[in-house]
């Protein structure tokens, strides 16, 4: 039985706490009155069809967009006043990956990590560890603009992790990854959650979500339609998803049946 998103306020703020969150573009509402809480140390997946507002929600949680209404707290800080302290506590893989195209993979760590207050030797240790863990060692001297989408995605993920954040906000972390890399990332999520890090990610890879997420939220029509653990949702996640989403009939395009 799907759970309805919580509407009560906890005495201690959870890792992510949204109340009445709304947003829109050009007068078109994208998110309307979003309420949910994500406990610390959980792995939560945000599902929903294309254009349902998943990436917008990630940007709102990361403080990259101002909500039109409502409040957001992430890692114990109000996002509206978060600024630098908030960014110190969160790791983000945004929609466009936000990479500096003219730097190499390695230079990204050397230039950006010291900003988080890490000493040079510490940066080197963490950089080498992440490059090894995500199989990026062979491309460490490659300018990012020449990297494959998978390389860029893994680098963005490594940059989100390098300062050991409390909360990870990841937009489609599995998209573009090969099965081995996806497995590594999944294992990484499990280890991070075990050590108290909160992982909140969007995805369309339902089978992966089913294996890794402790909580699933379904976003549709600008609202959280239901939330709960995959075990609490009826049947497999895929059947549950298709039960919730209205499936359109594919239109008849007879000319496609006679290729030239």
């Amino acid at each position: 039985m799907p759970l309805q998103p919580s509407t009560e306020t906890s005495p201690v703020l959870p890792a992510i706490h949204c109340r009445g969150l709304s947003h829109g573009f050009a007068g078109r509402p994208v998110l309307e009155g979003i309420d949910f809480e994500i406990p610390s140390g959980s792995i939560s997946a945000l599902l929903g069809p294309n254009g349902s507002g998943k990436s917008t929600l990630i940007k709102l949680l990361a403080g990259l967009l101002t909500p039109l209404g409502g409040t957001v707290h992430v890692a114990g800080l109000a996002v509206a006043q978060g600024g630098a302290p908030l960014k110190q506590r969160i790791g983000v893989v945004p929609e466009g990956l936000a990479l500096l195209e003219h730097l190499t993979v390695e230079e990204h760590f050397d230039v950006l990590s010291p900003v988080y207050g890490l000493a040079r030797t510490e940066v080197q240790i963490r950089r080498d560890g992440l490059l090894h863990a995500l199989a990026l060692e062979e491309v460490r001297y490659l300018p990012v603009r020449h990297g494959s989408y998978g390389t860029r995605k893994k680098l963005a993920l490594a940059l989100a992790l390098v300062h050991a954040p409390q909360v990870l906000l990841l937009d489609e972390p599995f998209e573009g990854l090969d099965p081995v890399a996806a497995h590594t990332v999944r294992q990484l999520f499990l280890r991070l959650a075990a050590s108290g890090v909160t992982v909140f990610f969007t995805s369309h890879a339902l089978s992966l979500v089913e294996r890794v997420a402790t909580q699933v939220l379904l976003l549709q029509g600008g609202r959280i339609q239901c939330a709960g653990s995959p075990a609490e949702l009826a049947g497999t996640l895929e059947s549950f998803y298709f039960d919730q989403i209205e499936l359109p009939d594919p239109p008849e395009l007879p000319w496609l049946a006679s290729p030239r």
Partner: protein, 338 residues
């Protein structure tokens, strides 16, 4: 043939819109200065020759890689590809402008235009092959102390991947030649050289984060740094390029002009551009109106600083710091929706 005509017309339309669109290269301060110089007539012919012609060539050699990618997907034969490539090159609005000017100027004009067209085609051939391969200069300042010196190196490298910096270098080289060749250089000429160098670089101040692109700006906004800190690093990178170039001429004029450009540029530099900024291009300005205000302000500040540096420079610094604080706060705030 009809489909090729339709296609080439579409490509030319796309290219022309790219050149003239709001946020296109038309907003570059140097373009504005060249238009004014061309209108002013013979006294500014030297300036037009030194900067205007390379500017025109760079404008016309701006390829549209997305066009090439799309064309490669179309079912066209090799000769059709070649025909389209040459048709779009020759029907470029900059080429058309050159031809009209040449015809108006008579027989000598036709010869000049012919030479320019050859130079233009050569520039295109070279730039299309080189522009997207060359990474440009990079500065590894990560070895220096301080958590953000690495970023300063990135910002310096970014500025030196724009053609604006090289136009400034060209003007500085011409000015240096004048300074060496002239036994007693006129102070007004030195001030003029200093301000022209500043003008060449000034579009960078409107688009401080253009070299990193929108994704680069998004990455910088994710860092735990105050907005003013990032802007100060950008200003430092700008001044590290400007000051050595103006120091042989008039340091006070260049510094005053630079501070005013940055001060006004802070107000605009967080706005997204209408088109992507590729390396080895002139920077895209914001609007012609803003360029006019910025260029006139930097000239006024630079001219007054030549004689009254003691009170003009602190004023320029105050303007710079005030807008730095304002834009820094704005940079920290999440973007509004809509």
């Amino acid at each position: 043939m009809a489909r090729l005509a339709t296609l080439s017309a579409g490509l030319i339309r796309d290219h022309t819109r790219g050149l003239l669109a709001h946020g296109g290269m038309a907003g570059n301060n140097l373009v504005l200065a060249m238009i004014l110089a061309a209108v002013a007539g013979p006294p500014t012919a030297f300036l037009v020759a030194v900067v205007g012609i390379p500017l025109l060539l760079a404008m016309a050699s701006e390829g549209r890689p997305e066009q090439a990618e799309r064309l490669a997907l179309l079912p066209l034969s090799n000769w059709e590809h070649a025909l389209l490539r040459w048709a779009t090159r020759l029907a470029d609005p900059v080429v058309a402008l050159l031809v009209i000017l040449g015809l108006l100027a008579g027989r000598r004009g036709v010869a000049v235009v012919g030479s320019l067209l050859l130079a233009l085609l050569a520039t295109r051939l070279v730039s299309n092959r080189w522009r997207h391969r060359s990474p440009g200069p990079s500065f590894h300042l990560t070895a220096l102390p301080g958590p953000s010196t690495g970023l300063l190196g990135v910002f310096l490298g970014g500025m030196l991947r724009t053609l604006d910096s090289y136009a400034a270098l060209l003007v500085a080289a011409a000015g240096l030649l004048y300074r060496i060749e002239t036994p007693v250089p006129h102070p007004a000429a030195l001030m003029g050289a200093s301000l022209m160098v500043t003008l060449c670089l000034s579009t960078c101040t409107q688009r401080l984060f253009a070299p990193e692109g929108p994704q680069g700006l998004a990455r910088l906004r994710l860092l735990p740094l105050r907005g003013w800190h990032l802007l100060l690093l950008k200003d430092t990178a700008f001044l590290l390029i400007l000051l050595p170039l103006v120091s042989p001429f008039s340091l006070s004029s260049g510094l005053a002009g630079g501070l005013v450009s940055l001060g006004l540029g802070h107000l605009r530099s967080l706005r997204p551009s209408g088109r992507p900024q590729h390396p080895w291009q002139f920077l895209t300005g914001t609007t012609m109106g803003f360029s006019a205000v910025q260029v006139s302000s930097l000239f006024v500040a630079g001219i007054v600083a030549q004689t009254r540096a003691l009170w003009v420079l602190p004023l320029c610094l105050i303007l710079n710091l005030a807008t730095l604080a304002w834009a820094g706060r704005r940079m920290e705030r999440p973007r509004p929706g809509g």
